[in-house]
């Protein structure tokens, strides 16, 4: 089963929930899909065993064959090519590696090389009993295109495990790429007008993608009732409320997962999985 942990926005405690949940349940795998800012390993401190560069195709123009007809540039949906009198320029930061240009070039002047955009790292987090399987994508700085890296990281999801995917913030392409194919989505929010605003956007996304979901309110005692009322009104299951907790905040700032020092919290996160299973049965 794949459980994605998302929030309309960063900073709501999404990574805290995802890492603690992964540490609290048996047979788990954690995949950090927030490849622009992968933070999960600050807490999990996995032993990385494999690293694999991830590349996307990048067109290469053979100037001996090119007639500078301009067809490739016209047909590229992303304006990643410019054809000059004696040169075709490729803008790698705009290219999606879609293959249209090589397909349409009448002279077969375009071949494809590879551009490395980041790395997927895999390993384990040693645990009493069975180890937690770990995977994260890390996007190269200055590289704007994260979806191919997210897609690659997701290919390592092991079907026999409960996979916890830590999603990137926002509601656009990287989040959609992460959520596509998830069985359940946990939406983490805060009880403030900001939290509600972002939650409504995220709910719009998961509803449109037809993914079953539930809400977790973090720092539940620090704001107003608007999120709770919204969930009741919209018939959204409220699966967990985590009050503002000095110990947790301090453990977080030092990079210590909360559940490693608190067996009660571990039970609570275990219960969360039970609640998710229940949601999926109805």
């Amino acid at each position: 089963m794949i459980i994605a942990v998302a929030s309309g926005k960063g900073g709501t405690g999404k990574t805290t929930i995802a890492t603690n949940l992964a540490l609290s349940i048996p047979q788990a795998q954690y995949i950090d899909c927030d490849v622009e800012e992968p933070n999960g390993n600050l807490f999990l401190k996995a032993e990385i065993q494999q690293k694999e560069d991830v590349g996307v195709p990048l067109p290469h123009i053979d100037s001996a064959l090119c007639t500078y007809c301009g067809i490739c540039a016209k047909d590229c949906e992303f304006n990643a090519l410019a054809v000059l009198k004696d040169r075709v320029m490729v803008f790698p930061e705009l290219c999606h590696g879609c293959g249209v240009c090589s397909y349409v070039c009448p002279e077969k002047a375009i071949s494809e090389g590879e551009k490395i955009i980041g790395v997927v790292e895999r390993g384990v987090v040693p645990q009493e009993g069975e180890d937690l399987v770990f995977c994260q994508g890390v996007l190269n700085v200055g590289e704007p295109m994260s979806p191919p890296l997210i897609k690659k990281a997701k290919t390592y999801a092991e079907p026999t495990r409960t996979v916890i995917m830590d999603a990137p913030p926002g509601t656009s392409c990287p989040v959609i790429q992460t959520l596509n194919g998830a069985d359940f989505c946990l939406l983490v929010t805060e009880p403030t007008p900001f939290g509600l605003n972002d939650l409504e956007l995220a709910v719009g996304v998961v509803r449109q993608m037809k993914i079953p979901f539930g809400v977790i309110i973090n720092r539940s005692d620090s704001g107003d009732q608007s999120v709770v009322e919204y969930c009741q009104r919209e018939n959204i299951p409220l699966l967990m409320e985590i009050p503002l907790n000095r110990d947790l905040a301090f453990a977080y700032s030092k990079g210590i997962p909360y559940v490693t020092e608190n067996s009660e919290a571990k039970d609570q996160f275990g219960q969360l999985l039970v609640a998710i299973h229940k949601e999926l049965q109805v």
Binding site: E36, E37, V100, Y103, P144, P174, P193, S253, K254
Partner: protein, 292 residues
């Protein structure tokens, strides 16, 4: 010349919008923008009244004409993004969540059953607020092209500033280091990075600072909630000192800030003690740097 300040954080939830909203109240003759088009929330505090609304055509998307399709499967074969599903009942269909809108299927379909049509990916607005005009946007649900929309918002803000003879644009930037952030900072006069003294806060700050240096944009740093971890705050100070980056403000953790948010007010209008004082001083520093 019009100066442009972009406020970013690398990570959401560090108080970036709190600071942007406070600046809105402190600076004069400016246009505000919300470049966080995925999850805009500056409007929650500035409460804009929309003067003009336009749709945002971010690109084109494939549409399949099932009456011509012969189910040959070519589109699925060529697509590199798993954008074509094969449904036992409906045959080949476009999966808009996976599709990258590249048009390869439209070129490859032997029956010309697929065509590319303009798609409205969201809206953008010019609004009136108690603190001056604001340009903002709303990306449609599950739409991409947020980088393009950010660029559009900044262009419109610039036009508006020129038309009204204003000298400053303040951008509330998006989180992360991806395409929307790149679109929000390129060519701006100054970037203010808001960070907090947590491990992830530091890590993300380092990444956005790297990004700004990559584009050679001047950077200043503000540490929010510095009092929650003094050891990490010291680390941020050392990191900034090492790179010669000025820390223009250190704000203590202050529960009143949350109260201000819940009341939908900025921390200048809603008295938040030391935070209010530091933010006022910080604006002076930022202004000095920008006008230098």
């Amino acid at each position: 010349m019009i100066k442009e300040l972009t406020i970013i954080s690398g990570k959401g939830g560090t108080g970036k919008t709190t600071i942007t909203a406070a600046f809105a109240s402190l600076c004069e003759n400016k246009i505000m923008t919300d470049c966080d088009v995925d999850a805009a929330d500056l409007h929650l505090i500035l409460q804009p009244e929309v003067l003009r609304q336009e749709s945002f055509i971010g690109g084109r998307a494939p549409v399949m004409d099932k009456s011509i399709c012969t189910e040959c499967g070519t589109c699925q074969e060529v697509c590199r993004f798993n954008g074509i599903d094969l449904d036992p009942d409906k045959g080949y269909t476009i999966n808009s969540f996976a599709c990258d809108n590249c048009a390869l299927c439209a070129f490859a379909c032997p029956e010309e059953a697929i065509s590319m049509v303009d798609s409205v990916n969201g809206n953008w607005f010019i609004s009136k607020t108690p603190y001056g005009k604001m340009v903002h946007a709303k990306l449609g649900i599950a739409e991409d092209n947020s980088g393009k929309l950010v660029t559009l918002v900044r262009q419109q803000a610039k036009k508006l500033a020129e038309d009204e003879g204003l000298s400053l644009i303040v951008n509330d930037g998006p989180p992360g280091i991806g395409c929307p952030v790149t679109a929000a900072i390129t060519g701006t006069s100054l970037v203010l990075v808001v960070t907090e003294p947590t491990l992830s806060g530091i890590h993300d700050m380092e990444r956005v600072v790297d990004l700004c240096r990559h584009f050679q944009i001047p950077v200043q740093v503000c540490i929010n909630k510095y009092s929650i971890n003094l050891v990490n705050t010291q680390k941020i100070r050392e990191y900034c000192a090492h790179l010669g980056i000025a820390i223009v403000g250190e704000l203590p953790f202050e529960p009143l800030v949350n109260k201000a948010l819940v009341a939908r007010q900025n921390v200048i209008d809603f008295e938040c003690g030391a935070v209010t004082r530091v933010v006022r001083k910080m604006w002076q520093e930022v202004e000095k740097q920008m006008m230098a």
